[in-house]
Symmetry: C2
Subunit: 160 residues, 2 copies
DNA sequence: GTGTTCGTTTAGAACGTACTGAACGTTGGG
DNA sequence: CCCAACGTTCAGTACGTTCTAAACGAACAC
């Protein structure tokens, strides 16, 4: 059976997001919502378009909603609701990486506490890493702000 | 059975690195090498200290070596070699995140190509994300350089 | 009040992955 | 030459995870 280009794209996004910790099925859902037409789709549409069970779509959407990647909007005529990806979904996802850095920095701190003498040569393997992650932790939020301000400015200019 | 604080630390690093895509066992090895005494350890030492099979340690070390996180050095008296963590191991790991960003940006580009009209309102969900990841991709290397220069300067001052 | 459609939950099956243990080189000493 | 120590490879097992399918619940039409 031949898959449409859209469908294949969704599959690829699924694979990529799976490698980043999400499950393939949920990644597929997100990938599909990025390119589908119309951009808002019902559970039944998603289920049949992607060949996933209703159950998978239902729980998947809840997970994606919880992560702030997708939102459900009331469907005007029909009963129930439809889902659509938030315009900043992937940005949300990327920004969250900062939390990982914090976790690693904490691990480095704990390791240093274990070595007992932070300044000994033995502790170097941990010191450099701790300083690095502390640096990243401090700078990344600045970077995100910088993007926000630069981006809206560019948008205002009306040119890419 | 009671685990030493060092051993437990290694376990925790294993769990954390597992959540980042590495296997628990290999993460444990890295965690142990960050705090063990002496800092250089043989395969047999690692195997018995961490309760891992020789096989796991052998392949694990090769993987970590391949990633640039660990190096093997010739043992002076005895036969064979010993392993030690590189001082910049975790930095190496963190810096590699940039590649993920590039992959996501490419996915966004491909999605835009699929929508066919980059400037349509429909394409907004992808445009913003693409621009974001392009921005990150451009800025992160600068950030890494900045750390390198700032850090060696601080080290030179002899004060933290 | 009853029937129908839409959505959720959960038990279970299928799958992939991580780790072990044992067999197999390989290198140096007596 | 033979033995011993050290490391590697690989088949198999045990485990967790992901997805499905079917039972269940809720909301609206008539």
């Amino acid at each position: 059976m031949e898959l449409s280009r859209e469908r294949r794209y969704a599959e690829e996004v699924g694979v990529k997001l799976a490698s980043l910790g999400m499950t393939p099925a949920y990644g597929k859902l997100l990938g599909w919502l990025l390119i589908c037409d119309p951009p808002s789709q019902s559970l039944a549409q998603l289920s049949s378009s992607l060949g996933l069970s209703k159950g998978s779509v239902s729980t998947g959407m809840r997970v994606l909603e919880r992560l702030g990647l997708v939102r459900r909007v009331a469907a005007p005529g029909t009963r129930g609701h439809v889902y659509e990806v938030t315009p900043t979904a992937l940005i949300e996802l990327g920004s969250r990486a900062g939390e990982q850095y914090a976790a690693i920095r904490e691990l480095m701190e704990r390791g240093l506490a274990l070595l007992d003498d932070e300044d000994s040569p033995r502790a170097e393997r941990l010191r450099v890493s701790r300083d690095f992650y502390a640096f990243i932790e401090r700078e990344v939020p600045k970077l995100l702000d910088q993007f926000k301000t630069e981006y809206v400015r560019k948008e205002g200019e009306g040119d890419g």
